[in-house]
Amino acid sequence: MPSIVKPTVTHPGLQRNSLGLSMRDYEGGMSTLCAGCGHDSVTAALVRALWEMSVPPHMIAKLSGIGCSSKTTAYFVNGAHGFNSAHGRMATIATGASAANREMIYIGVSGDGDSLSIGLGHLCHAIRRNLRMVYVIENNGVYGLTKGQFSASADVGSKAKRGEANLLAPIDPILLGLSLGATFLARSFSGAKTQLIPILKAAIAHRGFALLDIISPCVTFNDHEGSTKSYLYTRQHELKVTETDFVPVQEEITADIPANGAANIMMHSGDVVRFRSVPESYDPTDREAVADYLMERQGSGEVVTGLLYVDESVRDMHEINGTPHTPLVNVPYEKLCPGSDQLSTLLESFR
C-alpha cells in the first residue's frame, strides 16, 4: 500500500477527455509493486478506460481487499475515493457502499486469493445480488503478497513448478459465475491492452455485476526456485542463501491477442500460455452455448479471452429493492422519520 509521491513526468496522453481532464488526472500514487508485475498493466488499462469514458474522478469508488492486486487501488485515479479493506471482504463493503449511494461508479480490484479462497462466498453472493460494480480479479495463480503460495485459481504460467497444489481442480471464476447466473463475464490478459481496455469500458457500462478474470502474471513467484517454499529446504542443506530476497527487475509482458484468433504468450517462468479470443460467430448472450464453448476450450488447454457472457435483462440490486434514483444518502432525514404523531398512532396497537 505504500504510495510514494509521483515525480512529474510529462505524459504522452495530454489530450483531454470531455471533462477536460488529461490522463494524468486519472493516475494514482506510484506503484510499489515489483517491476514487471502484471497488475501494473491492469492499473494502466483502468486509467485509460476511466479517462476515455470521462468518469468524474470523485464519483469513482475504488474498493479492494488485501494483496498485491488489492494495493493497486492506490495506484490509479488519485481523485477517487479508495477503500483498501480486509482480505476477502471487498464484495461485502461494496454491497453496503452501493446500497447507500448508487450514483458512484464502483471499481473493485481483487486477487485470486482474495476472491477465490477467503472471499469466495462473498463473491458468489455479490454475483447473485447482481450488485452493480466492476469486479476485477487480477489472477496470477499465487498469493503474491504472502510470497507465492498457490491460489485456488487456474494455473497461470508455469505448470510443473506448482507442486502438489496443481493436482487440485482449479476454480475458474468464469465457469463459476456462469453457474451462478452472473450477468457479465469477461477474461483477458494484463498485457493485452487493445483487448483489455474495451472490456473494461464495457464492464463499467454494464448495469449489474461485471466479473473480469484478468490473467496477470506474478513475475516474482512464478520462479519457484526462489519462492519461500524452498527457503528452509535450502537452509537444511547448509545453504543459507535466500534468493527470495533478490527480485530481478523484469519487463512487463505485453502481447496482443488477435481478435478472432489465438496467441502464444511466454510467461516470465518461460512457460507458454495460449490465449484465444472468442470467434466472431460467438454469441455471448446464449448461456448454454457459452457454457459449451468454455468447457470444450478448457479441455483443450487454451485460455479463452474476450467478453464471454452478458445479460443486460437482469435487474440490479437497487432495481430489485425498488430504491429511489437519488442515492439513499441523499434522502433527507425528514423523509425518513415518521415523526411523533405517527408514533403515537402506531403505539395504540401496543396498548
Binding site: 500500500m1 474522478p57 492506490a74 479493506s85 453496503g96 458468489c124 444518502v329 434522502v331
Partner: protein
Amino acid sequence: MQQLVATRVNDCAFKLANVNGTGSASANSLLMESIFRMGIPVSGKNLFPSNIQGLPTWYEIRVNKTGYTARAVDYDLMVAMNAQTYAMDIREVREGGYVMYDSTWPLDDDLVRQDVHFLGVPLAEMCNEHFSGSRQRILLKNIAYAGAIVAVLNIDLQVVTDLLAEKFAGKEKLRASNQIALKLGYEYAREHFDCPLPFHLEVGKPLEDKILIDGNTATALGCLYAGATVAAWYPITPATSLMDAFKSFCQRYRHDPATGDNNYLIVQAEDELAAIGVVIGASWNGARAFTSTAGPGISLMNELLGLAYYAEIPAVVFDVQRTGPSTGMPTRTQQGDILECAYASHGDTKHILLFPANPAECFECAVKAFDLAEHFQTPVMVLSDLDIGMNDWVVPSLTWDDSYRPDRGRVLNAEDLKEIGTFYRYLGENEEYVAPRTLPGVHPKGAYFTRGSGHNRYGGYTETPDEYQEVVDRLALKHRAAERYILPPVVQLHEGATIGVVTLGSCDLAVREALEQLAQPDDGAPPIIADYMRVRGFPFGEDVRAFLHDHELSFVVEQNRDGQLRSLLILETCTQKSKLRSVLAYGGFPLSAPQVVEGIRSQMGR
C-alpha cells in the same frame, strides 16, 4: 382441604406448560394483554425450546401491582397442558397453590400432591363436542383454558372479549368460535370451582402512559426514527425479530406511495462477516446502517469490527445476547458477550457499548447508538438480550421529539471542502479527538484513501512507529472522550445503605425487587440496605466512578459465569478490585429477585 393461602389482589404468578407449535402462545398472550388492559403491571416470559414443533414450552405470567414483574419462581397456579411434563410442572407449584389440567383424561395418582389444589377442566372433551376438525380443536383448546383462567383469577371478561374482537376484526367466524371456546372454559370454571381464587385480579386504574412491547420491536422503531436506511443481517435467534420488525416498519413508513420508492435497503447477507461488511461500506458512504445479531455473529464480526475501529468508520451493531458459549442455548438468555464486545478484534481495540434494560431503553439506545457511531466515527454495540428482545414488557409509552436531528458528527460538506486547501483524513482533531471526515461523491477535494493498514494522521500508508502511534493513541483518547456521551447510570440511594449493588440491562427489575426484600428483616437476619446503580454503557463516566468510590463494598449482579461487567469495571475504572463482588445467575432463564437476595445474603453471611 382448607385454604393455605391468604387473599392476595393483583399480586400473583402463574405458569402455563404447553407443547410448542400447538397455538398456545396466542392464548397466553391474550391473557397477558388482558391483564395489562385491566391496568395491572404484568410480565410474560416465554421459555421456549430451540425447536419448531412438538417439544415442551412454558409461559410465565407475573402480576404485580407495584410493578415488580421480574421472573417469579414460585407459582400460585400451574396450567399443566403438557402431559409430557406433568410431573415436573406439578412439582413446581408452591404449597397451597393450584394446578389446572385437562381432566378429559384422569391424572395418574402418583402425580397428585396433597398440598396443592387440582382444578380439572375437561378441555379436550369440551372442544371435541363443540368444534370440528383437529386444527380448530387444538387451537381452541388453548382459548378454552384461557377462559377457565379468566374465571378463577377474575380477569375482566369484557376486556378479554374486546381483545378477541380486535384480534379477529374482519374474521367474524374465527372470532365467534374463539368467543365460544372462551366461554366454555369460563363457565365450566365458574360452575365447578369457587371463583375467584384467594389470589386474583381486580381492575386497576388504566395504565394510560404505558405500552406492552418487546425489545426487538422497540429497537427496530428506534432505527426507523434514527433514520437508518441500510440494514444487513443474517438470521439468528434471538435477534431475528428485530430485523423482521424493521422490515415491516419500513414497508409501512418508508415506502413512498407517490413514487413507489423504498427509502431503505435491507440486505439479508450470506453470513455475519458479510453483514458487518455491508454496514461498514454503507456507513463509509454516509448512510446510517446497522446489523442485528447474537453471540456467534459477534464472534464472526471480530475482524471487521477492528477495521471499522481503526479506519474510524461508524457502525451500529445490536447484539441480542443468548446463552453461550458456541451455539449454546439459542432460546435462553444471558449477558455473556460483554467482554468480547468491549474489546472485539485483535490488536488494541476498545468499543463503545450501550446496555438497555427494557424495550423503552432499547428505543432510546438505538437512536443514541447512531448518534454516537457517527459522532465518534467508530462501531457502537448495543447489548440487549433474549429476555428484553423477545418478551413483552410493560414500559412507559415511547415519545419522540420532532426537533431531533441526527448527530452526523464531523462531516465536511461541499461548501466546507471548497474552503479548505487539501483534505487529510485524520487531521484537525477536536477536543474529543475526532477528525472531520468526508463522504464519497460529495466534492472532488474530499477524496481520500481509507485503509485498515498502518496509516498516519494524513491517512497515508505508514510503517513508521511515531506516525502509527500518533493515530492509535488518539483512538484511545477518543474512546475515553465518549464517556460523557454515554447515558448516565441509573442510581438510587437509600437512607442508611451499607453497600452498593451494581447491575446492567435486564437484571434491573429483579435487582430492585431484591433490594426491597433485603431491606426487610428476614426471620431474625437483620435487614441489608443497599444503594443501587445500573450502568447503561461503556466507557464508564464520572457517575459510575463516583458510585463505586463511595461504596466500600459493591455487589455486581449480572447474568454470566465469569462476572464480565465486574471485570470491565475493574479494568476501566480506578476502583479497587476487592470492593467489587459478583452475584451471578447464568442458567439461561430471566433473572428473579430470590436469586439476587440469596446471592447477596450468603456473601454477607446473613
